[in-house]
C-alpha cells in the first residue's frame, strides 16, 4: 500500500515538472490545431482584396502545422505563396522541413505526434501512411478540385482507388542538360531520337580531350545515394517498353531479373557506364558513385562535360549568374524515347498534401492548396516550380525550364509515369534499389547480381 502511494507521489512529481515545462516552453508542435476562443466558426465575410479567400474564412486564429521535405530557400517561397491566405483568413501555417522527412514522418505519426498536414513526395509512403489508419480523407472542397488533375496524377494521390492527397508541385525528370553555346561552337545539334543521341555522344567523345567526356553524372546524395541512377533506369524502361511494363515492374509482376529489365540495365550501362563517355570533368565511371548529384552537372559550364540527365529541379544547382535559356549558358532538351514507337515518355515526380487531421482549419488549408489559385500564387513567387494542376494559368511561367516542363507535363498525348522507385515499397524503392545502383556504378557489381539483391528485398507478406 505504502509503496503504491509513494509511487504515485513520484509520478505526480514528474507530471508536475512536466506541467511547469508545458506552461512556459514555446507550445505544442503536433496535436490538434489551436483555435482562438470565441473566434470559432462564424464565417466573417471577407471583402476587398481578401474577397477571393471567403471560402476559407471562419477559422481565424488557428494554427495548422505542416511537415515536409522541402527546405530553405524553396520553403521560403512556399511561405510567401500563402502569405495572403494567412493575412485574410487568419489561419497561420507553420511549416517545418526536414531532410530526413521520410524517416521522421512515420516516427511522428506512429508516436501520435503527426503534423496536421504532410507534404509527401512518394506515393509509396502515402500508401504506407494510409495503411496506418492515421490519414484523414480529404474534405469535399479538395475532392471537388480533383478534376483539375489528369487520371495519372489522381491515381498517384489515391490508395486502393480512394483519393487521399491532392498533388502539390510537379517536376519533370526526362530532361538532358547541355550547353547551347558549346553545342553551337562545335556544330552539334540537339538529338530528337535515342539513336541520334548515341551518335552525338560518340562524335563528342571523339572530339573531346583530357578529362572532358560527353556525359557526366553523380548519384551520391547522403542517405538517398543512388536515386539519380534509379531515374536513369526508369527512363530507359519507360522509353523502351512503355507504360504497361513500367506499371508491372512497379507492382513486381515484372522482376528486376526479368529479361526486359536486364535489357534496360544493359542500355543504361552502354550509355552511362561507357568509359569513353563518362564521367566528364570528374574521373572514371566509378566516380559517378561518389560525385554528389548537385555537383554532377557543373563541368558542363567548363565544357568538360557534354550532357547530364537530370530533372527540372536541377536548375537550382547552377551557380548564380548562369543564364538558363535556349541561347544561354545551359539549357535542357527532352530525353528521347529509346524505342521511337513509345509516344513521348515522360517521367515525373511531385508531392502530395496529406492530412492527419480533419479539423475545419486544416481542411480550409487543404482546400486552398488544391486550388489553381494557390498554384498561381506559388508560380508568381519564384521560378523553378511547376504544377500539374490543369487549371493553372500557363502564361504565368516565366522561366524557360518551367515552360518546357509544364508543356510536357500538360501534354495529354504523353506517356506520363511517376518515379517508379518512389512508388515501390520503401524497402525496395528507397532501400535495396538505391544500394543496388550504388553497387552497380561504384563497386562494379554485375547487373544480374544487382537485380537479384533488389528482388530479394521485396518482402512477401
Amino acid at each position: 500500500m505504502k509503496r503504491n502511494a509513494r509511487f504515485v507521489a513520484v509520478a505526480a512529481g514528474v507530471a508536475a515538472l512536466a506541467t511547469v515545462a508545458a506552461g512556459c516552453s514555446s507550445g505544442g508542435g503536433g496535436g490538434t490545431p489551436t483555435s482562438s476562443a470565441g473566434g470559432g466558426n462564424t464565417p466573417a465575410a471577407l471583402t476587398g482584396d481578401c474577397a477571393p479567400y471567403s471560402a476559407y474564412a471562419g477559422h481565424s486564429g488557428s494554427t495548422v502545422t505542416m511537415f515536409g521535405s522541402i527546405l530553405s530557400p524553396e520553403s521560403d517561397s512556399l511561405n510567401k505563396s500563402w502569405a495572403d491566405f494567412t493575412r485574410c483568413t487568419g489561419i497561420t501555417i507553420q511549416y517545418t522541413g526536414s531532410n530526413t522527412f521520410e524517416s521522421d514522418l512515420p516516427v511522428k505519426v506512429n508516436g501520435g505526434n503527426a503534423p496536421n498536414l504532410a507534404i509527401i513526395p512518394q506515393p509509396g509512403l502515402l500508401a504506407q501512411m494510409v495503411a496506418t489508419g492515421a490519414v484523414k480523407k480529404p474534405p469535399a472542397g479538395t475532392v471537388a478540385n480533383e478534376a483539375n488533375w489528369n487520371d495519372a496524377w489522381k491515381s498517384y494521390g489515391s490508395v486502393d482507388g480512394t483519393f487521399y492527397a491532392a498533388p502539390m508541385s510537379a517536376n519533370m525528370k526526362s530532361l538532358v542538360w547541355y550547353s547551347p553555346k558549346y553545342f553551337k561552337d562545335n556544330g552539334f545539334t540537339v538529338p530528337t531520337t535515342w539513336a541520334d543521341m548515341m551518335k552525338l555522344s560518340s562524335d563528342m567523345a571523339a572530339k573531346m580531350t583530357g578529362a572532358a567526356k560527353p556525359w557526366c553524372g553523380g548519384i551520391s546524395s547522403g542517405t538517398a545515394s543512388g536515386w539519380p541512377a534509379t531515374d536513369w533506369l526508369e527512363e530507359v524502361v519507360l522509353g523502351t517498353y512503355g507504360g504497361q511494363v513500367y506499371d508491372d515492374w512497379i507492382s513486381h509482376k515484372v522482376k528486376f531479373s526479368d529479361p526486359q529489365i536486364q535489357t534496360a540495365m544493359k542500355t543504361v550501362a552502354d550509355w552511362l557506364q561507357n568509359p569513353a563517355w563518362v564521367n566528364g570533368g570528374v574521373g572514371d565511371v566509378k566516380s559517378i558513385a561518389t560525385t554528389t548529384f548537385q555537383a554532377a552537372g557543373l563541368p558542363i559550364l567548363q565544357n568538360q562535360c557534354g550532357m547530364l540527365q537530370q530533372a527540372s529541379f536541377y536548375e537550382a544547382q547552377w551557380p548564380k549568374g548562369t543564364k538558363v535559356a535556349a541561347d544561354g549558358d545551359v539549357f535542357a532538351f527532352k530525353l528521347p524515347a529509346v524505342d521511337p514507337s513509345i509516344k513521348t515518355p515522360v517521367e515525373g515526380g511531385g508531392e502530395f498534401v496529406t492530412a492527419f487531421s480533419d479539423d475545419p482549419a486544416v481542411q480550409a488549408v487543404q482546400n486552398y492548396l488544391s486550388s489553381p489559385e494557390w498554384a498561381d500564387s506559388r508560380i508568381k513567387v519564384a521560378p523553378g516550380w511547376v504544377s500539374a494542376n490543369e487549371k493553372v494559368d500557363q502564361t504565368l511561367y516565366t522561366d524557360p525550364i518551367d515552360q518546357l516542363s509544364a508543356k510536357y507535363l500538360a501534354d495529354p498525348t504523353a506517356t506520363f509515369r511517376f518515379d517508379a522507385s518512389d512508388t515501390m515499397p520503401a524497402a525496395v524503392g528507397s532501400g535495396a534499389e538505391w544500394t543496388g545502383m550504388v553497387d552497380w556504378f561504384g563497386s562494379g557489381k554485375s547487373a544480374a547480381d544487382v537485380a537479384k539483391a533488389i528482388d530479394a528485398a521485396w518482402l512477401t507478406s
Binding site: S25, G30, T96, S98, V107, G111, Q294
Partner: protein
C-alpha cells in the same frame, strides 16, 4: 557541517605531491615529449582544417584544400553570416540547445545520485541485482527506445489496451526531451555516481547518524556536497552527450522549428540531400564551439570524477 573539510581528502592523491614531481622529472625524456606532442598535433589537424575552411570563401573551399590558406590566405565571413543570420539562423537553436542541455544535465544528477546513495548506503536485499541491472541496461541501443517512448508520451503506457500509466501530457514540449535524455543517461550516471558515493568514508556517515541525521538528511547535507567531483565529471560528460545529440532531439523535438537544437539545425542547413555544402564548415564550427569551450574550461573536473568511476587506486 563538520564534514565539509574532509572532501579534499577524497580528491587529492595520497602521497606527497613534491616527491611525485621529483620522480616524474627523472622519467621525462625529450623523445617522449616529442612523440606526445606529435600525436597531439596529428589529432588536431582535422579540426584545424574545419576551422580554416569555415573562414574561406565558398569558391576557395570548394575547389582547393584548406592548407592552401597558408599559401593564398583568403578570408570571408560570408559563411558565418549566412549560418548565424540567414533564414533559419543558428542563434535561436543555440539558445534551444542550452535549454535542452541544462535541465537534461541537472535532472539526472539528482535522480542518479539518489539512486547511487540508496544502493551504496541503504543496504537492502537485491541492491546488487538492481545496481548491476541498471548498469547492464546501457546495452539497449537508443534507436530501440525511441518509438515506444514516444507512444508513452502521447498515449500513456498501455498494455493490452488498458492504460497502466496516463500520458504525462508533455507532448511537443522540451520536457519530453529532458526526460528522454534523463532515462538514457541513467545507466552510466548511476554507475559513476554510485562508485564514487560508495567510497565516501564510513566514519563521516557514522558520525552524522550518531548526531541523529536521517538518511535523507545525510544525502542532502553530506553525500551531495562530498560527491561534487564525480557530479562535475558526470555533468561534463552528460552536457557533451546531450549537446551533441541529434537523434533524440529530432524525434522528440515536435514539428516546431523554434525548438530545434543546433545539431538538428545544422543538419537541415546543409539542405536537402546536401545542397549547401559550403555552409558545412561554419555550421560545423558553430555546433562544436560550445562543447569545446565547456570542455576546455572544465576538463580538470572531468578527469577527477572519472578517477572514482572506473579506476581502482
Amino acid at each position: 557541517m563538520t564534514t565539509v573539510t574532509t572532501s579534499t581528502d577524497v580528491a587529492k592523491p595520497l602521497h606527497g605531491a613534491e616527491a611525485v614531481k621529483a620522480v616524474r622529472r627523472r622519467f621525462s625524456t625529450p623523445m617522449a615529449s616529442f612523440f606526445a606532442v606529435l600525436i597531439g598535433l596529428l589529432w588536431t589537424i582535422p579540426t584545424l582544417g574545419l576551422f580554416i575552411n569555415s573562414f574561406r570563401s565558398k569558391q576557395d573551399a570548394a575547389t582547393t584544400g584548406w592548407w592552401m590558406f597558408f599559401v593564398h590566405p583568403t578570408f570571408s565571413l560570408d559563411g558565418y553570416n549566412q549560418v548565424l543570420t540567414g533564414s533559419g539562423g543558428m542563434l535561436i537553436p543555440l539558445v534551444n540547445s542550452l535549454a535542452i542541455t541544462i535541465p537534461a544535465t541537472i535532472i539526472p544528477i539528482f535522480i542518479a545520485s539518489m539512486a547511487g546513495y540508496a544502493i551504496a548506503w541503504l543496504p537492502f536485499r537485491g541492491s546488487d541485482v538492481i545496481f548491476f541491472g541498471i548498469f547492464a541496461l546501457q546495452v539497449v541501443p537508443l534507436q530501440m527506445a525511441l518509438v515506444p517512448l514516444q507512444q508513452y508520451y502521447v498515449h500513456g503506457l498501455q498494455i493490452a489496451g488498458v492504460t497502466i500509466l496516463p500520458s504525462p501530457h508533455i507532448n511537443g514540449t522540451l520536457a519530453q526531451i529532458w526526460l528522454s535524455h534523463t532515462m538514457f543517461s541513467l545507466p552510466l550516471a548511476v554507475f559513476l555516481l554510485h562508485n564514487f558515493i560508495a567510497q565516501l568514508p564510513n566514519s563521516v556517515m557514522e558520525a552524522a547518524r550518531i548526531d541523529g541525521a536521517s538518511h535523507l538528511r545525510i544525502f542532502r547535507s553530506i553525500v551531495l556536497p562530498l560527491s561534487m567531483p564525480a557530479i562535475a565529471s558526470f555533468s561534463i560528460f552528460q552536457f557533451l552527450w546531450v549537446w551533441n545529440d541529434l537523434l533524440v532531439a529530432k524525434v522528440f523535438g515536435g514539428s516546431d522549428p523554434t525548438m530545434q537544437p543546433v545539431t538538428a539545425r545544422m543538419q537541415s542547413l546543409v539542405g536537402n540531400y546536401g545542397a549547401h555544402a559550403e555552409l558545412l564548415a561554419p555550421a560545423g564550427f558553430v555546433t562544436i564551439v560550445v562543447p569545446l569551450i565547456v570542455f576546455l574550461a572544465l576538463q580538470r573536473y572531468f578527469v577527477r570524477g572519472l578517477l572514482a568511476g572506473s579506476v581502482k587506486g
